[in-house]
Assembly symmetry: C2
DNA sequence: ACCTCCAGCTAATGGGTATTAGCCACATGG
DNA sequence: CCATGTGGCTAATACCCATTAGCTGGAGGT
């Protein structure tokens, strides 16, 4: 819900994202967010309608970006193995690159009020179903060997979410290393030839 | 921190665990917990010293149980492959069987005040290191093929945590199915022969 | 010069929260 | 049959929080 964000609004959203990541939505106060951008809590309302709206904007923006990258990754080829490979790479890179967003997106679903919660939940279900379908296609084509495509899809998705929890830009592994290694993990996991 | 829990205290802790799982620590009030056990909020203080203590007890009890099961699982054999296999099975079963505890344990670390937070964090690091060592032993013995034992260990741990997030006793997969399938995933992931 | 609006401020409002104080019914055990 | 402790209760305390009201200094346009 944002037509054309003023730079100030973007700055506020970014500060909120940092704080939501670190302390959680409930434990973050408008005063905290204000301090981060150098103004008092109530002044935030000159730019933003509510704390809840900040969370909604962060989470729906995140989800939209993830789905966009997923579709772009998967759209380039018809080969089932290559499609899953690209989907996993996009998934892992997204979670490494936007780890604060992904982290909050996973953890603060319960702080989201309806109807936003339902909407985001539905998008997440779509995303998971897409992975499951990718695995099933590979199995049907005889390229993967896995007894439960559903469990394999869950496992692959959870791998990416894990990355968002521990990845650090200045940590011991680069985004590329993690992406390549995790693609390899996923391929092994589904028993790709 | 509990010598001999009266049944009432256990009941309160269980109610708190349910609510922390569902709504989070910050969003759960003492009144909510009271309602679950049929008394008023302030009456809880006849059994429990504070809300924070409830969280500490839940999280440290959970961590102790996980480490105990891990040591028991790993202690029975010297074969590196079998050791990892058993560790993964214990990890997954624990997260399926105690999913509320594991879920809260993962999500509410930030609501834990020092020094408890540091203590639990240290135990988690130990647990992760133990998995990494298991993978490294397997690699050293020529039984696993994996370029980064650290990433493999993270991946395996994240798989289990994922289980705690989506597993349901009445869902489409039994604990046994999930445990066996996830052990298989982990073995494939480390390139076991 | 003046008007207007923007973006800040402080003060108030209307809640909610953990925890403590102090009271009371009742079961138990001498 | 009374004394005592247990485990409830309601009321009070002492916060904290999101949000709103109303004020103000100053920048830009006219």
């Amino acid at each position: 819900m944002s037509d054309a964000d003023s730079p100030r609004v973007a700055e506020i959203r970014s500060a909120a994202l940092d704080l939501f990541t670190e302390h959680g939505y409930e434990a973050t106060t408008m005063t905290d967010i204000g301090v981060r951008v150098g103004i008092r809590g109530p002044s935030l309302y000159k730019h933003v309608v509510s704390k809840q709206e900040l969370l909604v904007d962060i989470m729906s923006g995140t989800m939209r970006a993830l789905l966009t990258e997923h579709r772009r990754a998967v759209g380039g080829t018809d080969d089932p193995v290559e499609r899953l490979r690209r989907a996993v790479e996009a998934h892992v890179r997204y979670h490494a690159r936007n780890r604060r967003e992904a982290f909050v997106g996973n953890r603060e679903l319960r702080s989201l009020e309806e109807p936003h919660r339902g909407a985001i939940l539905a998008q997440r279900t779509d995303y998971a179903s897409s992975f499951q379908a990718l695995v099933e296609k590979g199995v049907a084509a005889g390229r993967f060997r896995v007894s439960s495509p559903r469990l394999a899809a869950y496992a692959i998705l959870d791998l990416g979410m894990g990355v968002a929890a521990w990845f650090r830009e200045d940590g011991p592994s680069t985004e590329n290393e993690v992406a390549w290694e995790y693609v390899e993990f996923a391929m092994r996991l589904v028993g790709a030839a």
